[in-house]
Symmetry: C2
Amino acid sequence: MAAQAPDVSLVKKDAHPFERAQLEGLMTKRFFYTQAFEIYGGVAGLYDYGPSGAALQANIINHWRSHFIIEEDMLELDTTIMTLSDVLKTSGHVDKFADWMVKDTKTGEIYRADHMVENVLEARLKGDEEARAKESGAGAAAAAAAAPAADDKKSKKKAKAVAVKLDDAQVAEFHKILAQIDDYSGAQLAELIKKYDIRAPASGNEVSEPTEFNLMFESYIGPTGQTKGYLRPETAQGHFVNFERLLDFNNGRVPFASAQIGKSFRNEISPRAGLLRVREFVMAEIEHYVDPEKKTHARFNEVENIVVPLLHRDVQKAGETTVKHITIGEAVRSGMVDNETLGYFLGRIYLFLEAIGIDTQRLRFRQHMDNEMAHYASDCWDAELFTSYGWIECVGCADRSAFDLTMHSQRTKRDLMVQEPLKQPKVYQKYVPTLNKKVLGPAFKKDAKLIEDTINNLDQDALKALEADLAAGNASLEANGQTFSITNEHLTVEYKTIKESVRNFTPNVIEPSFGIGRIFYALLEHSFWSREEDKERGVLSLPPLVAPFKVLIVPISSNEQLSPLAQQISKKLRSLGIASRIDDSSATIGRRYARNDELGTPFACTIDFASVSKGTITLRERDTTSQRIGTVDQVVDVVKQLCDGRLDWKGACQILPAYTGTQDVEA
Amino acid sequence: MAAQAPDVSLVKKDAHPFERAQLEGLMTKRFFYTQAFEIYGGVAGLYDYGPSGAALQANIINHWRSHFIIEEDMLELDTTIMTLSDVLKTSGHVDKFADWMVKDTKTGEIYRADHMVENVLEARLKGDEEARAKESGAGAAAAAAAAPAADDKKSKKKAKAVAVKLDDAQVAEFHKILAQIDDYSGAQLAELIKKYDIRAPASGNEVSEPTEFNLMFESYIGPTGQTKGYLRPETAQGHFVNFERLLDFNNGRVPFASAQIGKSFRNEISPRAGLLRVREFVMAEIEHYVDPEKKTHARFNEVENIVVPLLHRDVQKAGETTVKHITIGEAVRSGMVDNETLGYFLGRIYLFLEAIGIDTQRLRFRQHMDNEMAHYASDCWDAELFTSYGWIECVGCADRSAFDLTMHSQRTKRDLMVQEPLKQPKVYQKYVPTLNKKVLGPAFKKDAKLIEDTINNLDQDALKALEADLAAGNASLEANGQTFSITNEHLTVEYKTIKESVRNFTPNVIEPSFGIGRIFYALLEHSFWSREEDKERGVLSLPPLVAPFKVLIVPISSNEQLSPLAQQISKKLRSLGIASRIDDSSATIGRRYARNDELGTPFACTIDFASVSKGTITLRERDTTSQRIGTVDQVVDVVKQLCDGRLDWKGACQILPAYTGTQDVEA
């Protein structure tokens, strides 16, 4: 999607303006993450998480597990990454899970076609703005400010903006194309490339016709080379192939949900957006199985009053990106969101993102347009988060209808259906044919099977007519262009009373699917700022719920008297399940606090000589840098409450007095 | 290793004899795990974990994280599965990570060579036992009992035992071969196959010469087909390539450890031992970096009195499998275990396995023999667990020396060393050459570089001689078969005083590496039994620490009055972090308890009409089936203490009175 920045007042007050390079520097310096195989030159689209990043990721996943799986008794799965090719053939991935790529006709460099078009048109729009700004005398600064997101996008291969004014109609057209850029087929992209003479940004050469590239990594299972496998591109198929066992585990009843957290893989054509477009990533996926005739949700009332920002498909088709703020209840009642279950999950997703520290003013739910929607989906809303790369899809929430289960059932001849006992058996009458195979076989020989299939496929009207014809003795059957005479000896048709006490149906699947790495990155951008008085150093305002470490323990000097107390506090916090780190390096106290801020550690306990003589330590809060004082037990108790979310900093300040550097504290 | 069963009295008292098929039936019925892509016919060596298995696995991993990572402040990592081929070339995996395979010369069926030899020789030994039993008149039953483990091994392709008596020398020889089966090279396996006329078990045909098959899954990264990747066969390389950043994160100091939990892959030739030999598996690996001159461990005293069963390499070479029970302290002091750090981890591994419910009498630590040891290791001990498949390697604990860091450093020209500031600077004298490049270059032209390299590689004796020759004016240098005359104008040699204040060294790495799936399976075998009075149904005596669900909540009937209370207890337990499941199916109470036993759920809360009228519920313990009674709050409090390990069942019985079916309880 083309980027439209939310209200600029969102930037943290008193903060230095956001610079992505600064955040990225912090990420490697404090080892949140780094490019994989860096010492070997690195591989695009592969990242390793270090201790801070691994802990932050683990905390996000833990909260996900508790918010979704545990809270709703979902059935957790752990299925294989290596996937039999037949399974992905059935799901459509072997044929359709592809992106369009183009090649520079001279250098051979490869581009993802839609990204190249987007990139070039954005550069032309930017050039137009600059040209207009020059005309009006406002200068380049204003123009640059007008397109903050496009500026950073795809920094390595980006098309350069040249100050060329476009006519107004063309500007409008480009905006419209960009609003729908995810919606184009290969042929349409080829047309755009031709129409607007779009060339390889790095060289200015012409590019080849777009061709499809399948995004799955392939390999062979076993030594024979005969069993083909792919690394799964999503965890979902692992749920569907186990549907029978899951349903049985749930005593045969729907609705229920399965959930899985694990790695998936996409062999991206040309990944260049940091953690946002990677070849290996953690997903957390829920498959919620519902009766297609009853997509209500028992706990809908818990979310219906949440106001969410929705960007409807029709708005996008008109080339607009204006969101509507509306309660989930209203969105479902008005039909904007298809059903209660889909609405329920939009609400739960919103609450999850809010809890881990996402700025909800940089969140919107965008509905998929028709071409853009995955081949299996009947409706889909993405939770998008605004970052310096623009709006990024972080959670997909799709109604996959009965697509997957139906396809797997057809392919494997397994009955992937729910049997619902009917309270009131369904009683009705219908015409039922009974074949007399002993006579039919010898009479029609090789055609017997054809006749049998034809009869079994007749509808009620045809059966009714056949009954009459048989009674009249002039029955015949058309099959495969031939006509066969048949009699009461071959078959009978009766009008029978049928009593059904079970209803069979294939459940529909609502799928909330989370890209954990993208959420992780957006959260870092939303949490990052730097103090006006110390622009060089960043602060990560991560909530205690997800911060990698909750407490930094800082002995004020390397004096040996202080070390045992640091160990003792660390042990006490560990026994309460609170992750802490001791920083007993020789750096100044200010520098160690700054390191604390860069790690996003919300609290610091400082040990000084008063700690040894009077048993007091100070507690520093990251965002305000204010310090309070108390005995070790008082401080640890306050920290526990802060980490559990039972207390905020204001509350903590009512319990612990401000630290003035001199006072005593009552034990 | 050839299987030697531990003392048979280990089988649980009053238990029905262990039958693997019964355990496997329970695993699929209660959806612990199942073959992956079962509805597509399945793929050997790939398994999916269902809700019970995923929860059990998650609990094992959680305890691992707490026992190792949190307890010892290890630096957790999450690095990529997809690995650049260069990295695995450096580590030796591209060249050496292979097994020997043979092909049936007629059918083309493929066997892993060492497994085939083992399998055929075991079958011959069994045939011999049967023949001897017949001779002595004891019958086949005794013979079968004599080899319980071999009987089930590799059930699908196993060689059939034919009752043929062997001479005593041959029997001894076969036993000796089996005791060393992991120690043979391809050529040695070829020799054994020829010498003993070993043929394909399924067909009796001859097999081909053993050839190497690399066990890594390969793929290509990106659309060009030029960047080769492998799925990692271990997580270890992801630690080593990040060593610089890890060391920096730890303020430049050793010892410290990094840890990682994640999937790894091995493209096994012919996997047929259930969860024990799989193509995709979860590993948990620790890389502990130590000073090679100081392999002591600060917390060694915490483990030195633990008695562990050790099987020394020399004992195995003699064809024996007798373990020695010895304290870790003694094992290290006697040199049996190489150093304190290795010993420390053997102790920690022992405590971990004991805590999750492994029967420590079915555990031994076996030292690797020379050929068997991985190419990088200088010493290695495996924690092996006894199962119906024999003794299985579940944890490897290797001293990888400086192998990996040295190799990666040489290949990438990165300095993967620790700089230790010396308290006392090291002062010494040595001869130091200084080249005058401005003269050297023009004088020797294309040979100048050769001369420079030769001089820089001279040892102290040669430099001393060179100094004397230069002073005498008759210096010359031999390089590449040529002799060059050199003078004081080209270079000078001085005897200088050197002061070093930093010591540089490449740390050694001690690596405890856990196969979580194998531990998971061994734990299930160690926990499984069935009651004499109900042989058909299994019981899994899993400790509360790892049991998938801690409490089953069972309303005694489907009466609507009971349902809200079940929900209320479930919610109460959830808020305490205790996983529970409600079973409100229409099955009888006995059947629901049995289901509880099969899931390994240690406790059940039963809700009856007294629960509604008097507020009491009963608490049933799985292993004893005894029941106690109390108010909801009393029972929940006891359950919490039981799950936290603060109380055992005996203690619980002192708090809650026995349930007699009639009594009231004081609130």
